[in-house]
Subunit: 145 residues, 2 copies
């Protein structure tokens, strides 16, 4: 079920698309608090490491611990973001959709990360619209050029 | 053997320590060209995702491909940086030392990344000096607080 944290991630993704960027957004939750949110900024900042999840963690700044947090993302994390989740010891990830992209699921689970996949049609549609409009940009982002 | 690219990574690490930061540096090589270098900026920019390797890739900007590159780093990559190497399809990593930190070796190798560990005493000493002087900061960076 979509909660306000996933809605914040989706809002970030849509904001990114409006800026001409890649529509993937993320939010970091601690209890009922939204710590930070962010979206992919490859285009906007010419920065290949600022995927949605990374921009969110960048925006959250230095945290003493992430063990009490949940990371929300509109799309299944890539290996960069999955490695970050494992490294930061974030115990749970809530994913909007894993249909468009999903290779890190086993890696996350094998490191004890709980992964909840919501299968939200609006997240799938957002990616499909983008990939049809900007196939080269999408392939650059997943390093398939 | 230490070459000019590893020297660039070490120079970055030492610059980071002088700034009051964590002495881990990185360099990205394409053929005989130094594409970019960088160092950990957790302290300097209050940014938990800017490990040495990530700062280097940030400084390199958008690259069409990384399949023809080699990443140098003074210390064995953490899972964030290792996941990034796998995601970016960087085929080879040259590591200054893997004694202080080294848990991602198997992950990298299982994804086909060649890992060359130089075991440089100057890299080990640089980390030991730092960890003795700033144990809390080091534990924050490896998420062991």
């Amino acid at each position: 079920m979509k909660d306000k944290f996933m809605q914040a991630a989706i809002d970030e993704a849509r904001a990114g698309r409006k800026e001409g960027g890649i529509p993937i957004g993320s939010a970091l939750r601690r209890g009922d608090e939204l710590v930070a949110s962010g979206h992919n900024k490859r285009v906007q900042e010419g920065n290949p490491i600022l995927h949605g999840e990374m921009d969110c963690l960048n925006n959250a700044g230095r945290q003493r611990t992430y063990r009490d947090t949940v990371l929300y993302t509109t799309l299944m994390p890539c290996y960069m973001c999955a490695g970050t989740i494992v490294q930061f010891k974030i115990p749970k990830v809530v994913v909007g959709e894993a249909q468009t992209f999903g290779e890190s699921l086993e890696f996350l689970q094998s490191h004890g990360v709980e992964v909840e996949i919501l299968n939200l049609p609006e997240c799938v549609e957002m990616m499909q619209e983008f990939i049809e409009a900007e196939p080269t940009l999408w392939n650059e982002d997943i390093m398939e050029l």
